[in-house]
Structure formats: structure tokens, C-alpha cells
């Protein structure tokens, strides 16, 4: 069924389709419509389960962790400051190996105060052990929630779906809502091999000796590494059932490209148009969309960018003192490539500023004109 809806409501639809029995959340702009929609459905009985209106995001995540350990599927949604407040519990979620799924609507980090799109909030949580997916539009957000459950529940690591404030969260687009029965077949009821048991009370997070701690961390790393394989498999299966797939990364017009533009999130859709125009002007420009940030799809990226002369990474985020974060990771991934392409970091769209096709054209031409390496990020902003 096709419906005209916002990215937020697409996420809520996905949660409903996944029959998540425990939702714990705290409202925050621009995520609130997800919370409101789920609340509405809880009240009307459209979703069966409990919606916990916790006193903070920290408690929301704590609730999800505890509920997940009893063997149920859980969901939360947040944004920006809310995600930052969850930070401690994010580590706990990964450390406790709970397959919690969260939607984070990318909103700038204060101060100054603002509500606009910026990926710094979720990227700041990159070391917490969560799977991270960045979505281009509402349809992808909906599909990614379903995929995320399927991946997380096999790997036992939590997963975060990131969608940008307003550009995805509030833009209305036609969204295909999958059939409930098909989703039920694709995503069977959750069945953890072990769960909290009232009959056999246990205590999680006991003190462990250093050596054991290191082993547990290593196990989590190994599990995270296996996500690439599982995610590819799940996406393949999803395409077979629902007719849509996204891959871990998506190369667009890359075969003959000399210059590759790399994007994540909503800028990708704009870049799809921009490269077509650049090609008409005679520039051999391609596009690489990075969908998974954690685990970082190193091998797939190396393969997709092999032989390219110049790479222009557009980041709607900036790590102060470091630069665009996707670019940092990408440079690290390509450090051993034999042909040493020039990798340019462009910081654009920060704080919700508009990244138009013209901005992308400007970035592409800037990269084409350059003849040598640039270490620092190049900021694309109003003079």
C-alpha cells in the first residue's frame, strides 16, 4: 500500500509492522511525531504492547535494555540532546548485547540552540558499539527499521537508524507500506537464546577481571564485523520479498567515473540529480552512497573506489579539530590503496543549511580543479 507520509511516520509504521511490544521514549523535536504516532496507536489499540513514557532518554534506553533482556523486541526514538543524554546507556546496550532498535533523527548539537539537520549527534556515538545506518528518505527509513531488527537479533548488537531532521523526518513523500503478513514472515517473533527469568533471578553486568573484559570486547568486535555479511544477506532477502534493496553502500554511475562524490543520508538524493547534470556537461563524475557507518564497510568502499583519481566526501557534520567524519573514516579505509587517490573533505549542510544541486556541482568542480592534496576539510558555506 502506498501512502503519502513523513519520514517520522514511516519509521512509526515500521515499528508497528515489526510488532514491537515495548516502546520506551521521551519526546524531542524533531523526533516527537514518531512518539506521538506510536502513542496514538497504543491508545487506539492498533499496536499491542506497552509504550513507556519515561522521564528521560537515559531511562528510555535503560528500559529498552531491561525489557530486551526479558526477550522482547524494543524500540526507542530520539534526537540530538536526547541521544547525548542516552550516551552512557548506549554503551550498556551494546555491552549487554541487546538488539534494541532506535531511530535517531539527526539534529544539530547545541550550543547554539537549533533543531536543524546535522549528523554530529549520531556520529558522536560511533564508539558505543551500535550498528548505524543512514537513510536517504522515508521509504529507506521504514525499510531500514525492519532490516535493522533482523540484523540486530542475529548479531546481538543494538542498531540505530539515522534520518536527518526535517529533510527526511518531516518531508512528505509517497511511501510503500509493506504487507503485514510479509513482514511477519520476514521478521519472525524474537527468540533470544537466553533471557531474564523471574524463576531464576540473575544479575547482569557483574564485575569481571581485566582479561575477561577484553575478551568480551573482542567478541563484540567480531560480532560487529559479521554485520557486513549479515546485512548484505538481509538486504538481499528484503529485495527478494519486497522489491527494494539498498546494499551496504550504493555506487551510482561509478564504472567510468574519474571523480567520485561520496555522501550519506538525504544529500545523496540531491547528488543523484547533480551528477547527471555534471555528466551532461562532460564531467565523468560518479556517486557513492554510504549507508552503513557502523560497521564501516571498509572492503566494499575500497572496491567501489578502486582506480578513481579524486574522491570528494560531503559531510553534513564536523568533528571540531578533525573535520568531516565520514571522510576521516573513508581516508582510513583507503590508506593502503595502491593508487593513492586525492581524497577531499567537504563540510556542507552543517546546521541544516541547504545542500542544493548547485552546491554539489560547486564541490565537484572544486575537486576537479584541484591538482594536489588538501588535508583540511573545505567548508562550503555562504561568504
Amino acid at each position: 500500500m502506498r501512502e503519502f507520509m513523513t519520514g517520522n511516520h514511516a519509521v512509526a509504521q515500521a515499528v508497528k509492522l515489526c510488532r514491537t511490544p515495548l516502546i520506551a521514549a521521551y519526546p524531542i523535536t524533531p523526533q516527537t511525531p514518531i512518539y506521538e504516532k506510536l502513542s496514538e496507536w497504543e491508545a487506539s489499540g492498533a499496536i499491542k504492547g506497552i509504550m513507556m513514557r519515561t522521564e528521560s532518554e537515559h531511562s528510555a534506553m535503560a528500559s529498552c535494555i531491561a525489557a530486551s533482556l526479558t526477550g522482547v523486541r524494543t524500540f526507542t526514538a530520539t534526537s540530538s540532546q536526547g541521544l547525548a543524554l542516552m550516551h552512557e546507556m548506549l554503551h550498556f546496550a551494546a555491552g549487554c548485547r541487546v538488539p534494541v532498535v532506535m531511530a535517531n533523527v539527526n539534529r544539530l548539537m547545541s550550543a547554539p540552540w537549533g533543531f536543524w539537520a546535522d549528523q554530529l549527534d549520531s556520529l558522536s556515538q560511533r564508539d558505543t558499539g551500535w550498528i548505524q545506518l543512514y537513510c536517504e528518505n522515508g521509504q529507506e527509513a521504514l525499510d531500514s527499521v525492519i532490516q535493522a531488527y533482523k540484523i540486530a537479533e542475529q548479531i546481538f548488537l543494538p542498531a540505530m537508524i539515522a534520518l536527518e531532521a526535517f529533510f527526511v523526518s518531516h518531508f512528505m513523500e509517497p511511501v510503500e507500506i509493506p504487507d503485514q503478513e510479509a513482514v511477519d514472515r520476514f521478521l519472525p517473533p524474537m527468540n533470544l537464546p537466553h533471557r531474564f527469568d523471574m524463576e531464576k533471578p540473575g544479575f547482569l553486568v557483574p564485575v569481571v577481571p581485566s582479561e575477561l573484559y577484553m575478551k568480551y570486547r573482542h567478541m563484540a568486535q567480531t560480532s560487529m564485523d559479521s554485520v557486513k555479511e549479515v546485512a548484505a544477506h538481509v538486504d538481499h532477502e528484503f529485495r527478494a520479498v519486497f522489491g527494494r534493496g539498498y546494499g551496504i553502500i550504493e555506487p551510482v554511475m561509478m564504472e567510468d567515473a574519474e571523480v567520485a562524490i561520496v555522501t550519506a543520508g538525504s544529500i545523496t538524493s540531491t547528488a543523484r540529480l547533480a551528477i547527471r547534470a555534471l555528466r551532461e556537461e562532460g564531467h565523468r563524475v560518479g556517486l557513492l552512497k554510504i549507508r552503513y557507518f557502523r560497521p564501516f564497510p571498509r572492503e566494499a568502499i575500497q572496491q567501489a573506489l578502486r582506480g578513481k583519481k579524486k574522491i570528494a566526501v560531503i559531510d553534513r557534520n564536523n568533528s571540531i579539530g578533525g573535520g568531516g567524519i565520514f571522510c576521516q573514516e573513508l581516508r582510513a579505509a583507503l590508506v593502503h590503496s595502491s593508487d593513492h587517490p586525492f581524497i577531499y573533505s567537504y563540510v556542507a549542510g552543517v546546521g541544516g543549511t541547504d545542500v542544493t544541486p548547485e552546491v554539489i556541482r560547486k564541490i565537484a568542480l572544486n575537486a576537479i580543479d584541484r591538482t594536489g592534496p588538501v588535508d583540511e576539510s573545505i567548508w562550503i558555506m555562504e561568504e
Binding site: K150, Q154, I155, P193, H194, G202, P206, Y216, S223
Partner: protein, 579 residues
Amino acid sequence: MKVYAESFELVIPISYESTEVIETGKWGFQKPEPIVMAAPCEEACPAGNPIARFSYLAGDGQYKAALETILKENPFPGVCSRVCFHPCESVCNRNQYDEAVSVNALERHVFDATVDLSPKLNPAPNNDPKKIAIVGAGPAGLSCAYFLALLGHRATLFEARQEPGGVLRWGIPEYRLPKRVLKKEIKRILELGIEMKTGVAVGKDISMEALSRFDALFLSPGAGMSLPLGVEGEDLTKVWKGTDFLNRVNSGERVRPGKEVIVIGGGNTAMDVARSARRLGSSVTVAYRRTKKEMPAIADEIEETEQEGVRFEFLVQPVEIRLLKNRKIRVKFQRMKLRKTSQKERPRPIAIKGSFVMMEADRLITAVGEGVDISWIPQDLSEKGFIKSVPSFVPDGRKIFAGGDAVDQQRSVVTAISSGKRAAISIDLAFRGHDPEEVFSKIRIGSKETLSMEAYLNGREMGNWGEPKGVVVYDQINTLFFKPSERMITGRIDPGKALKGFSEVHTGFSSEGARLSALRCFSCGTCNYCYNCYFFCPEGIVSFDFVNRTRKVDLDHCKGCGACSRACPRHVIEMRLIS
């Protein structure tokens, strides 16, 4: 679906052992200590009424337990809650927040709600019971007998009148204190096994010497003699003594004071006389030599007296009363003015030379104070018209004590009750050979004179009394946990209706009014199981036992964070450094 982690236990450690073995309590340097503090109201109440505790029980609807709690310290909740000047309310910590708790009215509801129940009184065991004679069965004598009985002694009351009660029976009118209330309370006291000899006047029907067969003696004959005005014409039959008038009214006699009545005085007796005369159809004027501000009567009494249509003439003092030919009297009043003396003392009235005012009336009733009949008291026991007060003397081995209005102390029912309690403890201590002053300093509530019977009983067996309870000050109340609320007031019958008879003026609380009033109590220094410490304890180691009314902290696992102490609204938990 392929599961990539074969066993959950492999990817995350779970312990099935309790972490209780880790004594996290050893990490702390301070521990919460439950403390029991007194509320300012309890310190101010001469009877030492455990107000915070009974309020908590009343708020919880446990009226019988509330009554039993009061009865540990005061045998007269029904009486006090009707006639007391309630000093408790003026010191209520809630005054500094919004308005005082209606303690007096709440106590009345506790009495009214339990009027058909039999509270359980538990006299303490006593292997060596003594026999004590008590002269005068007013509030002081009855209280002394009551507490002696609770201490396991055998008291015998000698009452000159045909019924016990003293001023409560013969002085205070029915509309303030219904006789059924008094009867109920006296019955409860006497049921403790106290012998009551009515119609026996000591010094007339039985001599003082005859009482020496008792192990101790308590003298509480009261002050029943109206003091004379000392003016010409006072002997006229048109002039009545206030106490005689009230006595006749309270005896059920049909008294007709006349159409126009002048009452001289500004105390509670004057108010009782004026209001009684109004009820007997008189038009009444109260003449007082100071102003309204200096009147010793309870403020509420003055207000109600005014509401009942009694006129007030201030700054006048009678100097002459004359009988007129038309059988009326003419009273000549000297006009007065006030001169301030010191901050502490009341301003002194001084005659304005040559300024007089005349008033005509059918009757003049005096109520300028009451004296003690000490004609039958051995000289060495009296001083300046009073009986020497307890516990100042135990002359030549005779254990003689005194209290109530017959000794030089504040004249109020609750003070009389207090002196009865003090005497009972003094008598018990005299038999046990303890110095009463030393013990009193330990069983006081706060720093005032009020004694706690509970504190006395706690140390009585071993002869070791702890330190007196401190008093919670307003700053120690965590007011964040209280909402501002209005003071609950009780109903009164319409003044017009009130004057038609001697029905009780105050109608008391509804049960909801009482409940809301009780819930307003800060419960200063007394745990009322509000759960704050339980909820705020981050370790979850505070537990309550509701059956035995105890709160426990698992100190082996208390890190001493102090959250419970901070969150306690009523200052019953104090953090103490571990030495």
C-alpha cells in the same frame, strides 16, 4: 534465522549469585541515624501531647490509635480540645509556611470519632504500689490520679463536692464543654482503679492528719473563691460573684441575672459569665480596666463573646455601687489610661483623675480573678495565698505535693493537667529515691517545662533516662514536599441560635475536614511513613515494617550518600560520621 551468537551467556556475563556479599556499606564515612525529635507544638503543649504522632494516625483514619497515643500524655483530650488555649498552634512550624495546623479541632475530632470505643490503657508494672491521697478532683487532681494509676500506684481522690470535675464541672459552661464529654473522660480515668470519695471536704469532714496514713499526698483544691472588687456596695444582693453564678448555672439551677447585667473582668471567667448571662436572657456589658489587647481571655472566646452581642467597655474600673430606688444599681466607673512599663509586663492601668462614667444595671457580676481557700492548709505549706508548688518541698519526711490552680502558676486547664502529671512523676520518683529535678531535665520535651510520660517510662525501670528530645525548627523542614494549603476551621452554630440555650457552640470537623487538617501536619520530627527515604534511596536498602511501625536501613549496604536525610521532609534522619 541464523543466530550468530550461539549462546547468550558467551557474549554477556550473567551472575546468578547475589551481590549482597559485597558490603558496600563499608565504603561510606557516614550513616543515616533515625532520630526522634519533638515538634514545637509538643514542646509548647504543657501536657506534652504527642501531636505529630496522633495527627499522623488521625490522617490515616486510625482514630482509636490516635486517641490511645494522646492518652499516654493527657487524660483529657475531649476536654482540652474544647477549652484549651492551644499554645501548640501559635508555635506550629506551618505558620512560617502558610497557616498553623488546627491541632485543637483535630484533637476534638479524635475524641468525637472514638466516643463509643474503649481505648486500651496500659498501666506500667509496679512491684511496690503506694497509696496516695489526692485532695480535689479537678483537672490537676484527676490527672495526678490518672498518671499515678498508669505508674501502678493506688490513688484515692477526696472531693468536697458531690461530683468530680472541679472547674470543668462547676466553672466552664455547657456550651463550651458539654457535661457528657467530661463524664466520659472522668469515667475512663476512674476505671483505672482510682477510688473516688465525693462529698468529703478535707479540713471539715476529714482532717489533714487523717490523710497521713497515705504514703503521699497531692493537694489540688483549685481556686474557687471569686476575689473581691474592694469597692463600696459590693455586698449588695444585686452583686454576684462570677464563680457562684457559674456554679449555680452548672448545677442546673434556673438563674435569672436580670435584664441589664454588667460583668467586671477580662479573663475567661468573665467571658463565661457574660455568655452564660446572654443565654439567660440578659443584655450584657463587660467592663474591663485595660483594653481588648490586654484581655487574658482566649482570643477565640473574646471573638465569640462579641458575636453573641456582648458589649465591651474598656479602660474603666468600678469604684462604687449604689442601689437605686427603682431596684436597679448604679455603678460608678473610674476612667483609666494605660502606662507602658516594660516589654514583658502588661501595661498598667492608671486612673484619669476626675474622669468617671456611670452605668445603671439590674445586676453586677464580678470576675476579676479567683483565690484559693487555704484556711485548712497547714501554714508551712502555704505561701502568699497559694499552696507551695511541687516539687519544691518534701517537708520532714511527709511526701506532700501540690498542683493546679491552688499553686502559683498559669491558670489553665492544660497547665493543671501538666502539674498533675509532674506531681505523679515526682511522687513516683520520691518512692524510688531519685532527684526529680535531675530526672525532669532528661524527660523534658525540648527546653520548656513540658514533661514526657513516655520518656519517663522509658528510663523508669533501669533508672537511666536519655537526653531530652530536641525540637525541629522550621529550617529543618524540607518544605519542597508540601503544597501550600488553607487552614481547616470548624463550624460554629449561628450566634442567634446559640443564645437560645447552652448547646455546644463549636460543631467540630467533618471526617473529611479532620483528615485534610491532619494531612497538613508537617509531622516535625516524627516519621509518618511518607516513603521519601524509601523512594530516594539509590541503593534500595530502606525497608518498612508496617505492622510494627519500624523503618530499617540495611547498613551493611548503605554507602552513606545522605539522600534519605535530605529527602526527609520532617527531619527524622540525621547523617552521623562514623568514628
